[in-house]
């Protein structure tokens, strides 16, 4: 099982370590640093590294490496999932998962890690339960604590851990009972030079914010459940009901959680809401090139495309760029060679365009590769797959909750090759 955890920042300092069994010397991280050096880019550090006596399994999140040490055969996915859960928990507790936040709350971090893992076995990883055991820090609470002398650590038994619904805490009470669902869809796509779609699929999630008293039993139904053929469920969902009736029936956790995630596969046709016209060329034996990109809307069901941002990793030989944007503003970072164009909202009447001259380092050969364009956008009030919630029913409680559903479509990994 998981033996130890080291948190390492980008400059290679180990700023926190936790051991669940015997202590493993920090020197084990040398193997990690070695791999990190070899990988050059932080993102490219391999997640599983073997050392003579241990295995290091790591994730990279929010500029922090979470490096776990294991000694016996343990499913690596189990470790990776757990590490992400740790990062999620920090995010949840401190609002951000950063080195400063962790250092500022080091005792809470230590207590959390202790609760999350016992001898390497996961113990309490549900945020609902953790929060009962260890109260998250708030300014108010620390003031109150210092006056009344009460503590951050709850002294109740984590009730949820024993019931059949370990994800929900008991005795929840709200004056306003609300249930909100956000249907968020991200389009992952690769568009080739000529504008045809090489690959496209939709990654969707339904994130919920449920503030309901007591033990509500909800069922959520869809107008077109057939779309959902590849779904991952929160453990609270009754799988049998879904199999037989295509209805999501569940007793929800309290607060924010991800109800389902789904994938509308590439077999189905995926509507691509934007198109890009591009002309990026470098002249042979000259130290300049041309850059001309236009973005336009298509297949967006009449909803405006907003929050459009284009980022391009220009070839290394590019020195700077002299461009004019008809809309929005652009920046070019000559160190990382990243061009960012913040377009904003696309109005079909006047298509945003960015064009101008690319200056290359003098004497550098003409770049072999053409950069890919990375596009981000948002479309409110639209689930691009067409998924629609039909109704939400509540059983088990008498009050009438306030209900709401919001749809949004975003670009995921949306890449246009040039």
């Amino acid at each position: 099982m998981i033996h130890s955890l080291f948190l390492i920042n980008c400059s290679g300092d180990i700023f926190l370590e936790k051991h669940w069994k015997s202590v493993v010397s920090q020197s084990v991280c040398d193997y990690f640093f070695e791999a990190q050096e070899k990988a050059i880019d932080v993102e490219n550090v391999p997640p599983v590294i073997s050392t003579p006596h241990h295995y290091l399994i790591s994730i990279y999140r929010d500029k922090i490496f979470f490096v776990s040490v294991i000694q016996t055969e343990v499913p690596p996915l189990f470790v990776i999932e757990f590490l992400h859960r740790v990062a999620d928990t920090f995010q949840d507790y401190f609002g951000e998962c950063s080195e400063t936040a962790i250092k500022d709350n080091v005792v809470i971090v230590y207590e959390l890690l202790e609760e999350m893992l016992d001898n390497g076995f996961p113990l309490a990883t549900e945020s609902n339960i953790l929060k009962e055991l260890i109260k998250p820090p708030t300014i108010l609470r620390s003031v109150v604590n210092s006056i009344t002398g009460s503590s951050n650590v709850g002294d109740t038994l984590p009730t949820g851990q024993l019931s059949n619904i370990p994800w929900r805490r008991a005795g929840v009470k709200y004056t306003n009972n609300e249930a909100y669902f956000d249907v968020v869809e991200e389009i992952d796509a690769i568009i080739d030079k000529s504008g045809s779609t090489v690959f496209a699929e939709i990654q969707g999630v339904i994130d919920s914010c449920i503030k309901l008293s007591g033990m509500p039993d909800l069922s959520l139904s869809f107008m077109n459940p057939r779309l959902l053929d590849d779904v991952s469920f929160h453990p609270c969902i009754r799988f049998k009901r879904w199999e037989s009736e295509r209805v999501l029936s569940f007793i929800p956790p309290d607060g924010n959680f991800r109800l389902i995630s789904y994938r509308v596969s590439s077999q189905n046709l995926v509507a691509i809401p934007v198109y890009v016209k591009h002309m990026i060329s470098f002249k042979e034996n000259s130290s300049s090139g041309r850059f001309d990109v236009t973005i336009g809307p298509k297949q967006n069901m009449g909803k405006p495309v907003e929050g459009v941002v284009m980022t391009v990793h220009m070839p290394k030989a590019v020195l700077n760029m002299n461009l004019t944007a008809t809309q929005g503003s652009y920046t070019f970072d000559p160190v990382t060679k990243v061009l960012t164009w913040d377009v904003g909202k696309i109005t079909p009447q006047k298509l945003p365009n960015l064009k101008g001259i690319v200056n290359l380092q003098s004497g550098a050969p003409k770049p072999e590769e053409n950069p890919s364009l990375n596009i981000q956008f948002k479309i409110q009030q639209l689930a691009i797959s067409g998924l629609k919630v039909n109704r939400l029913d509540m059983y088990g409680e008498k009050y009438k909750p306030f209900k709401g559903v919001k749809y949004i479509t975003k670009a995921g990994k949306f890449q246009v090759r040039t």
Binding site: K21, Q26, F78, H84, V107, T156, P166, V198
Partner: protein, 930 residues
């Protein structure tokens, strides 16, 4: 200063101040400061009603108890008291913390409270206590067994609370890992049912433990397998990727038992694809592990993902480790139906920035050409396009793969040779140079200036790498045979360079062979050198099937990430039980192979043991001594190395700077020894079908004999013997230095042999061997090396290198070191097999002068893994029926007749490979007479 202040605060009367002080102590501890000096003061704070303070003190205790064991005893009383607390949270906390204090003295006090907690009324306490048993086992395994905690833990599998069940399973699995032979997790249909019920209700982590445990179960028939599958499939929709992958493992394994005609089989196949694809939209680290596993799944059951090619397309900002894996899977999925798309993608990748990735993409194009014949032409033209880019590494990589394409489709794409020749000068990597030279030599008759081209390489002959030198030698000989008139001078030049001016024995040997061939019989030389070559196979990098089957059982584990069985790299897992897929129990298959039941594969294996002579000759023709392919284990024995081994000179790497073949130089740097095991260790499973649980007694070990006398080896004397213990074979050597100078840099290599014996680790001679000193070494062996039939069968040719020279000797190993621990056949099977093997395979031997009685014989033989299955007394004679299995899966059945008054026994052996009988008899004799 700081410590002193903290000390004062800890001893303060005010509760609040105390707590703040403890917090500060913990904070210092967390960042690695040593605050152990405060131990007594912190422990004093333990007796408190304040839960937070208690927890903090517990945290501190866990960290420092080890360094202050005497002080830690002070805390015991509080722990014991807390274990009786009315609040279950405190009871659980106390038992949990006690387990984390890794001090022997404390563990004794822990037993009683732990026993109570395991039977606590509150499931939260029971579940915590279950994990505590695993902790305690880690500290003191004997204590746990003596106290009967393991049985209590087993009982908890039937607990009413799913969380308790899950933790009990988790704890047992961890304990079982260090106790491979124990049957801690012996599952039966009832306990399986319990687990399946708990599976639905426990936490995600618990589900992983339960699924991993289920995967070890062997259902009794296909109906049971199906019903388990049905209850596991809902887990495929879990949000936790580890749960999904563990469920995939269970399904992939049990599917093996389902008949393919079953409707359910098809449904299951369909259900497996979406969750696997979904894993690819997760974080990159998850993707990586998922991809490594998908790589296995695609090889085992390509039908699952054959329509999902597109999800493996690479995005430019994927981390490099994800890109490379995706590329590998794309090639595996490439087929005629999707080749156009794949090629378009690969071409796109070949213009990317990352050099490693680009190289692999170019290589992938070549693999596509070889795999999908219809696409070969397009692949070649794509490669030519890429050569035109003149990007140096692209060109070199392209030439290497074009060579392979020529091997696969001879005489088809020669028109491109001219283009290739244009780029001759830009090649600076040995592999590309060697490939180009091969092409020139192979097509010498069509290249007008072939002699000039080859001559240009000759100028810097001695600066070239071995690979290029060997290739150049062969190419010029080919050229000479094709155009003898103009090239006589050239061939003489290269032969003299190779034989007279080179230090490389392999190059010299090859040079001499050619020289003699050419000078004695040019016609024969032509037949040999220019003979038709065997075509290269379509998939060169497939994982060998038996290994693949084993790895399928390890889906989701580290083994699946490394594509090696755990025995090859997990520390301290000597006794790891090899897992194998269950045999299909469908009616049609079961009828035809009743005798091969437990492993299901062995019958097919036999022909592989001895390669045909034809292949060897073929190998001789193509002396591409490429650096042995590193990376994934290669399924078939490497074609390229063959010829050299035939000449007894497979030791080239010995001299040539150790190019990284299976030859293992004595390590001077601290390389990860456990991973340094030969790449192809998986191959072992070809020969070691189900592996074995080691019995504790070892086989008979003969006394050491001198193998290599000092006078033959410039003062190095080697004597040795072979032994087999707990499933592992080793060669016990004594190296004696009888020379006057110090010897160092020892290394050892075996020639190919009948059973693929090979060193499992480098020869470890830690210090240089001074004159008149000797050193004893036990060299672990495995049976995963290359296989070639030797005469006699148990002949082993060994080369030992030291700083002085390389020495060769050969020795005979007793066959019983190859008898595996699970060689006991079932009675029924024995009868059936005995009848099944034709009578002409039976061999009879006399064992003379042996005065043991039947029982003594039987127990003696058992020590060496010859198992007595039945004993009968017929007319005053004792008949022993025995079975044994060799590492390569060959079963040998024996009947031993013992007459009470006669010291001579009669041994009848029956085996499908009768050539081993004689050596088995020899083994019998050695064992019985010593």
């Amino acid at each position: 200063g700081e410590i002193f202040e903290l000390k004062a605060e800890l001893n303060s009367d005010k509760k609040e101040k105390k707590k703040e002080a403890v917090k500060k102590v913990i904070a210092s501890m967390t960042v690695g400061k040593d605050v152990s000096a405060l131990f007594p003061d912190v422990v004093n704070c333990m007796q408190t009603d304040n839960l937070e303070l208690k927890k903090l003190v517990y945290l501190y205790l866990m960290n420092y108890a080890k360094s202050q064991p005497d002080m830690a005893i002070m805390a015991v009383n509080t722990f014991v008291k807390d274990c009786e607390d009315p609040n279950p949270l405190i009871r659980a906390l106390a038992v949990r913390t006690m387990g984390c204090i890794r001090v022997d003295k404390i563990t004794e006090y822990l037993c009683e409270p732990l026993r109570k907690c395991l039977k606590d009324e509150d499931p939260y306490v029971r579940k915590t206590a279950a994990v505590c048993v695993a902790k305690l086992h880690d500290i003191n395994a004997q204590l746990v067994e003596d106290q009967g905690f393991l049985d209590t833990l087993k009982d908890l599998i039937s607990d009413s609370n799913p969380m308790v069940v899950a933790n009990a399973v988790a704890a047992l699995s961890e304990i079982a890992e260090s106790h491979p032979s124990s049957n801690l997790l012996d599952l039966n249909p009832q306990s399986i049912n319990k687990l399946l019920t708990a599976l639905n209700e426990c936490t995600e982590w618990g589900q992983i433990f339960i699924l991993d445990c289920l995967a070890n179960y062997m259902p009794k028939d296909d109906r049971e397998a199906q019903s388990i599958c049905e209850r596991v499939t809902p887990r495929l929709s879990h949000a936790n990727a580890a749960v999904v992958l563990s469920a995939v493992k269970v399904l992939m394994k049990f599917m093996e038992m389902l008949s393919k005609d079953l409707d359910y089989y098809g449904t299951l196949l369909k259900k497996l694809a979406p969750p696997l694809v979904t894993l690819l939209s997760a974080e990159p680290e998850l993707q990586y592990v998922a991809l490594r596993n998908i790589n296995l799944i695609v090889q085992k059951r390509p039908e699952i993902l054959k329509h999902e090619m597109k999800v493996f397309f690479v995005k430019y900002n994927d981390p490099i480790y994800v890109k490379l894996e995706k590329l590998d899977i794309m090639i595996r999925l490439a087929s005629q139906a999707n080749i156009a798309q794949v090629l378009a993608e690969l071409k796109e990748y070949a213009t990317e920035v990352d050099v490693d990735f680009v190289r692999k993409a170019v290589r992938a194009i070549g693999r596509c050409a070889i795999k999908v014949e219809q696409s070969a032409e397009r692949c070649v033209s794509t490669l030519l396009d890429l050569i035109q880019t003149k990007v140096n590494y692209v060109v070199q990589e392209a030439i290497v793969v074009i060579k392979d394409i020529f091997r696969k489709y001879p005489n088809k794409y020669e028109s491109v040779i001219a283009t290739l020749c244009e780029n001759l000068d830009s090649l600076d990597e040995p592999e590309a140079r060697a490939a180009m030279i091969w092409i020139v030599g192979e097509y010498a008759e069509r290249i007008d200036n072939a002699d000039e081209l080859l001559e240009s390489f000759l100028e810097g002959f001695h600066d070239e790498s071995t690979q290029v030198q060997l290739q150049l030698l062969t190419a010029i000989v080919k050229l000479f045979l094709k155009k003898p008139t103009e090239t006589q001078e050239l061939v003489q030049q290269v032969l003299s360079l190779a034989t007279q001016d080179s230090d490389n024995p392999d190059l010299r040997d090859r040079g001499y062979i050619y020289w003699r061939l050419l000078s004695t019989d040019p016609v024969a030389a032509k037949e040999v050198v220019l003979a038709e070559k065997p075509l290269i196979s379509e998939e060169t990098d497939l994982i060998e099937p038996t290994l693949l089957d084993e790895l399928i059982c390890y889906i989701g584990t580290l083994a699946s990430v490394y594509h090696k069985p755990p025995s090859a790299f997990v520390e301290g897992s000597r006794g790891v039980v090899h897992k194998s897929l269950p045999p299909r129990t469908g009616s049609s298959e079961s009828a035809e192979s009743p005798d091969t039941a437990p492993s299901g594969v062995q019958a097919a294996e036999q022909p592989a043991v001895i390669p045909t002579q034809g292949d060897l000759l073929g190998d001789l023709l193509n002396l591409d001594l490429g650096p042995p392919v590193s990376g994934p284990p290669i399924a078939t024995s490497s074609v390229q190395m063959g010829a050299v081994d035939l000449l007894g000179g497979g030791l080239d790497s010995l001299m040539g700077g150790g190019g990284g073949s299976s030859f293992a130089p004595a390590p001077s740097t601290a390389m990860p020894a456990n991973l340094g095991a030969p790449l192809g260790s998986g191959l072992g499973d070809l020969f070691d079908l189900t592996g074995g649980v080691g019995t504790l007694s070892g086989s008979y070990v003969a006394p050491k004999t001198v193998w290599l006398p000092a006078m033959k080896a410039k003062g190095l004397e080697i004597s040795g013997t072979f032994s087999r213990q707990v499933g592992s074979i080793s060669m016990d050597l004594v190296l004696t230095n009888k020379a006057l100078q110090v010897m160092s840099d020892f290394a050892i290599q075996f020639n190919r042999n009948s059973f693929g014996l090979a060193p499992a680790a480098p020869l470890q001679v830690h210090a240089p061997l001074a004159p008149n000193q000797s050193v004893e070494i036990s060299l672990p062996l495995n049976t995963v090396g290359s296989v070639m039939k030797m005469d006699p069968l148990n002949n082993l040719q060994v080369a030992v290198k030291n700083n002085i020279d390389v020495f060769y000797f050969s020795t005979l190993y007793p066959l019983h070191i190859l008898f595996v621990e699970d060689g006991k056949m079932e009675r029924q099977m024995f009868l059936a097999t005995w009848k099944d093997i034709p009578n002409e395979n039976e061999a009879q031997f006399q064992i003379k002068d042996c005065s043991l009685n039947a029982d003594a014989v039987s127990s003696k033989l058992q020590g060496s893994n010859i198992f007595t299955i039945a004993k009968r007394n017929v007319e005053g004679q004792d008949m022993l029926y025995q079975s044994l299995k060799l590492t390569n899966g060959i079963w040998v059945l024996a009947e031993l007749r013992i007459q009470p008054s006669n010291p001579s026994f009669t041994l009848s052996l029956k085996c499908r490979a009768p050539e081993v009988s004689q050596y088995v008899y020899q083994a019998y004799e050695t064992i019985l007479k010593n």
